[in-house]
Amino acid sequence: AQSVAQPEDQVNVAEGNPLTVKCTYSVSGNPYLFWYVQYPNRGLQFLLKYITGDNLVKGSYGFEAEFNKSQTSFHLKKPSALVSDSALYFCAVRDMDNDMRFGAGTRLTVKP
């Protein structure tokens, strides 16, 4: 069965600094990997996904993620963090059975 792990409950960065939110996965077959963001009292918003092709995936709001097959990782990155990026970030994996498995979430706090 597929699973995804987000090893950090919390990530704190200063505004303008690069940010990384980590995710590792376990799946049989080819992984379909996703990042979602959840702002307070809001639903999940799709950020980006990896299906096939380039290992560096670009998504919404300037975020990108790098798929690394050898390390089974799919870390979310942004070159320059904004205070408005503060939110809860979820990594998810989907296999060919179509159900999504989410990580526990990482709370990102960007301080001015």
Partner: protein, 116 residues
């Protein structure tokens, strides 16, 4: 931009009562899903629905739960006899059927259910 909508945004109910959570998926989407998020915990898959039948369900989705697409637009989740532990945020999601399984699931804003 089209979006998934859910009603109500909040629901308070007594233990043992039936609740129906409603969702209107994006109009050209064919796959529908329900997830839940207990406060402070991870998002958990409940069920997926395609072609008017359940395609997959998790261990959480027991006989107390059912889903229905009563018409061409709504997708509902029914909990027959609510328990305290059903208190959670329930998210509906929908996706197109894309070649190669490249579907992106788009989520609604959620219904916060509180069972007293």
């Amino acid at each position: 931009e089209p979006e998934v909508t859910q009603t109500p945004s909040h629901q308070v109910t007594q233990m043992g009562q039936e609740v129906i959570l409603r969702c209107v998926p994006i109009s050209n989407h064919l796959y529908f899903y329900w997830y839940r998020q207990i406060l402070g915990q991870k998002v958990e898959f409940l069920v997926s629905f395609y072609n008017n039948e359940i395609s997959e369900k998790s261990e959480i989705f027991d006989d107390q739960f059912s889903v229905e697409r009563p018409d061409g637009s709504n997708f509902t989740l029914k909990i027959r006899s609510t328990k305290l532990e059903d208190s959670a945020m329930y998210f509906c999601a929908s996706s197109e059927l894309l070649a190669g399984g490249e579907e992106t699931q788009y989520f609604g804003p959620g219904t916060r259910l509180l069972v007293l």
